[in-house]
């Protein structure tokens, strides 16, 4: 009986370990595939051309800077919306709202997160863009701002879900201790609960950023896809072209192995590396060694 138990233990441990390692293996394999298909672009197109400001691949203009700035401006805009709304909603749901309100609001927020992004993009073209054009007196409503608003709306449910869980997990003793010391409710939230839930909230924000930078369909429909170099502050009111929309729009038409094909994979590689950088930045904060006081209290 001891031997068969041992055998089952071994199998289960092996299966679980494989699942755990496979996550790393898949990411590595994707990375190597992107490298294999994307690095030839560096050989075929001079680095100076790749960093130029004109993206017009059918005439061999492969400047990816407009795409980079397009993605960045839309992501930054979206996070400027998602961070206050996301964390604010999470704090409201977890700390301030009465229990019955929380039971209703939380599923509603998660329902918003379940909306397909294509549907939101559709609403963006039909409702949001015309409204922005009239309200802000712009030449056209198809701008980075429309994209940022939509993406903020898409990132908020993800952020709220995870941040709210993180805030919920903070032991009640923290809040009681703060209140006992005479802190007001806001002081408790801002200086005790939020810092204690820091790792969860940061994870929520990272997931929000990851979702935003990788979003394709919604931005493809509302940002106008114009490869404009978006470096001024007013560029938020001009059309932009994101890296994701570029890959989605052009991958179908490239002949396998052509220069255009390799450059598109290089753009994918850049996207991958940006996500990686964001995640590493987040992990370095999250896994920073906890102060001795925090270790003692928890």
């Amino acid at each position: 009986m001891g031997k068969s138990k041992n055998w089952r233990e071994t199998v289960i441990t092996a299966v679980v370990r494989t699942c755990g390692y496979s996550a790393v293996v898949f990411v590595l394999l994707i990375f190597f595939f992107l490298l294999r298909e994307g690095l030839p672009a560096l050989a075929e197109v001079k680095l100076g051309e790749l960093l130029s400001a004109r993206w017009y691949p059918i005439e061999n203009h492969f400047g990816i800077l407009p795409l980079l700035t397009g993605s960045l401006i839309v992501t930054v805009g979206a996070m400027l919306i998602a961070i206050p709304f996301g964390i604010g909603t999470a704090v409201f749901l977890s700390e301030i709202a009465p229990r019955w309100m929380r039971e209703i609001l939380k599923p509603l927020v998660e329902l918003l997160g379940g909306l397909p992004s294509v549907v939101l993009g559709f609403l963006g073209i039909l409702v949001l863009s015309p409204y922005l054009r009239v309200f802000l007196n712009l030449p056209t409503g198809m701008t980075a701002l429309a994209g940022a608003l939509l993406l903020g709306g898409i990132a908020v449910p993800t952020t709220v879900s995870i941040a709210e869980d993180a805030l919920d997990a903070v032991p009640q003793s923290y809040r009681e201790g703060a209140l006992a010391l005479g802190a007001t409710k806001w002081q408790t939230i801002w200086r005790v609960t939020l810092p204690a839930a820091r790792s969860g909230v940061l994870t929520a924000l990272m997931l929000g950023i990851g979702r935003t930078i990788g979003e394709t369909m919604a931005v493809m429909m509302v940002t106008g896809n114009a490869p404009v170099l978006a470096i001024k502050l007013t560029s938020i009111f001009s059309p932009v072209r994101t890296m994701t929309a570029t890959i989605a729009a052009e991958m179908g038409e490239v002949a396998n192995g052509s220069t255009h094909y390799h450059v598109l994979f290089m753009i994918g590689l850049v996207l991958f590396l940006i996500s990686l950088a964001v995640n590493i930045a987040a992990s370095s904060v999250v896994f920073k060694s906890r102060k001795r006081a925090e270790r003692v209290l928890s």
Partner: protein, 293 residues
């Protein structure tokens, strides 16, 4: 021992992933009755209408039609994954060479003709433009409607994506005025929209907008705001129609093509011959395109 087992598992996974995905040419479709048709979004409705009628008359043949843009169809033909590629522009010489390098000789058939209509918002007082003016608008030299006789409004240029044959044709014929050595490009703030419907939608509700599309895609409520185009400032300003395409007075008309891999045989040959017949060309006229003479 644990690390050895893990290493073995890792190597198995890596080896499984090492199978490269290079696509060989598709199995020859001459014998089978399944024809794949891919490419131009301009032609996709036409190709679908043809496919439906042909399948009704010949139930033993099954046709699949997909869009994706002329560039997509031609790339699929070069990769050998499609039987017939629809294109609203001619194949470029580099594309032909790539196909031949892959062992595929593309054969071109002109199956219909099309006019590209330039359309503005119905509130826009501008109704006539020369080719040069349209070229300057789209290349960024003219930025305000005042400069072409309209209101004081910024011009918002709408275009199809670069994989669209319509886009390439517009670049060559209008922006570059048919001159192959002309290096003019679309201005960087031209909106590259994914489909005709998005273009029409934006033109319909934005008074600053100018867009172009196949004549068959202009809805009835915008037909009055289609621009009459003249080859030069002195010439007659002609609106697009079947008549003005057939007598070559409308300067922005083009042929629509179907490409096959090599000379077509069997079911594909029958299909192409049927498309060139009077019955199929009647469908062409119904859909807003121009039948071949």
């Amino acid at each position: 021992m644990k690390s050895a087992r893990f290493l073995l598992l890792f190597m198995v996974v890596m080896l499984a992933a090492c199978k490269t995905g290079a696509q060989g040419p598709a199995a020859p479709a001459g014998g089978s009755m399944y024809i794949q048709n891919k490419g131009s979004d301009t032609m996709v409705n036409l190709a679908l209408a043809w496919a439906e009628r042909y399948q009704a008359e010949h139930p033993e043949v099954s046709l699949s039609v997909t869009g994706g843009g002329s560039g997509t169809g031609i790339a699929a033909l070069i990769n050998g994954t499609v039987d017939i590629a629809n294109a609203s522009r001619a194949m470029k010489s580099e594309e032909t060479q790539q196909a031949i390098a892959n062992g595929i000789t593309p054969v071109e058939f002109t199956v219909a003709r099309d006019a590209i209509a330039v359309v503005v918002n119905s509130e826009n007082p501008v109704h006539e433009l020369t080719l040069q003016q349209i070229s300057d608008i789209y290349s960024g030299k003219i930025n305000n409607w005042l400069q072409v006789g309209g209101d004081d409004r910024p011009i918002v240029r709408l275009s199809r994506e670069t994989n669209s044959g319509t886009h390439v044709y517009f670049l060559e014929t209008v922006l570059r005025l048919g001159d192959k050595t002309n290096p003019t490009l679309f201005s960087t703030d031209t909106l590259l929209l994914p489909s005709s419907e998005v273009i029409i939608n934006e033109v319909r509700q934005n008074p600053n907008a100018i867009g172009y599309d196949g004549l068959g895609y202009i809805p009835p409520d915008l037909m009055d705001s289609v621009i009459a185009i003249a080859r030069d400032a002195s010439g007659p300003f002609v609106t697009p129609s079947i008549a003005s395409v057939n007598d070559d007075s409308y300067p922005v008309a083009r042929d629509l093509y179907m490409y096959t891999a090599g000379e077509p045989t069997g079911a594909i040959k029958d299909y192409i011959n049927w498309i060139l017949s009077a019955e199929a060309q009647a469908i062409v006229a119904d859909l807003g395109f121009v039948p071949i003479k």
